[in-house]
């Protein structure tokens, strides 16, 4: 992967340079001391992975990331402040590493970057919240994602199945799909989305989740297999 370091502190850059040299699959293309310089470099060269400091004078790392558009490289933020996680929501952020960066933490984040390139699945524990809000006949209710077993489209409604009951909400499956973390919730059928961590068994073309049967259609079978990475 072609890498670019962006940090206004020379010591931080030199440290990262050393860490990058530990991994033969990483190629350091350049280092920049500010975001504007980096912006130009990213446009001119093919950069796969950005090591980006957030708090820099002038354009911040976050502003740079937001200005890059669809073709942005993968981003690993090196910062001391996890509060920025919410701003990073849309940005294919692989990791937030706090300074001072340790070798172990660095290698972990590279692994995450590699994993993402293979599977296109963002690390689930990074920037996603673990709950959603649903409108359940007049009441707005918080649902922990971990309690959701699967979702089924029925006409103008989506049934959200939790342990011993379901909620009926007036929406489309597609719109719910967009709000759920893709690493955990997978579409397996035109009418079904499942919580991958709740799969009990998969037999033929049918999933069993908490004793309920959920069909898997041909169109989604490959994606499911890929996600499950069955041994």
């Amino acid at each position: 992967m072609n890498c670019l370091i962006v940090d206004d502190n020379k010591i931080a850059r030199t440290t990262l340079k050393k860490l990058i040299s530990l991994d033969p699959s990483l190629v350091l293309v350049d280092e920049c001391s500010n975001a504007t310089e980096a912006y130009v470099k990213i446009l001119e060269q093919s950069i796969d992975l950005l090591f980006l400091d957030i708090e820099m004078p002038g354009m911040t790392g976050m502003e740079l990331a937001q200005s890059l558009g669809q073709k942005r490289p993968l981003i690993i933020f090196t910062t001391s402040n996890r509060d920025y996680a919410a701003d990073a929501f849309d940005l294919d952020v692989i990791d937030f590493i706090t300074k001072p960066v340790t070798t172990v933490r660095f290698l972990q984040s590279i692994d995450k970057a590699r994993e993402f390139r293979k599977t296109k699945i963002l690390p689930a524990d990074l920037i996603e919240e673990d709950f959603i809000f649903i409108r359940d006949s007049g009441t707005v209710r918080r649902l922990q994602l971990d309690n959701i077993l699967y979702l089924e489209a029925q006409g103008d409604y989506v049934k959200i199945y939790v342990a011993s009951q379901f909620y009926n909400i007036h929406t489309t499956l597609k719109s719910v799909e967009e709000k759920l973390p893709a690493s955990v919730f997978l579409r397996v059928h035109r009418s079904f989305i499942i919580n991958v961590s709740k799969i009990d068994t998969l037999e033929g073309g049918t999933l069993i989740i908490n004793k309920s049967l959920v069909p898997v259609s041909d169109a989604y079978r490959a994606a499911l297999n890929k996600r499950m990475q069955i041994l």
Partner: protein
């Protein structure tokens, strides 16, 4: 003086080399380079910090304090200066307290710099 006196991590009062050694993995050239950058950079960082504080430019004080973190961490100083740097980033304490913090940071960094210079002598 022998050409290549190996230093031991415990032989300095203030600076701690465990972070550098963890990153360098035995690469002495890297260690030397980074200690050199510290020696060169710290006086400038300190000067800016004090200048901004004297000018009452607290936004810049905050930025400076934040900027210095990787520099002081490289020699293991962050535990000694953690409270002070955090206070300067938060800017919630009284002026007098902040002033004292700046003085502490200045003192600690200067002592560390002296030790770092000594350390540089021990590299070939």
């Amino acid at each position: 003086m022998p050409a290549q006196t190996p230093y031991t991590s415990g032989s300095f009062q203030l600076i701690n080399l465990s972070y550098i050694e963890q990153i360098s993995n035995g690469d002495k050239a890297f260690e030397k380079e980074i200690v050199q950058i510290f020696v060169e950079q710290i006086p400038q960082d300190l000067a800016l910090l004090k200048k901004h504080f004297a000018a009452g430019d607290f936004n810049k004080v905050k930025q400076s304090a934040h900027y210095m973190l990787p520099s002081i961490s490289i020699l293991g100083l962050e535990t000694k200066l953690k409270a002070e740097l955090e206070a300067l980033e938060a800017l919630e304490s009284a002026y007098k307290v902040l002033k004292r913090h700046i003085e502490t940071i200045d003192q600690v960094c200067n002592t560390a710099r002296a030790e770092a210079i000594e350390l540089l002598h021990s590299y070939a």
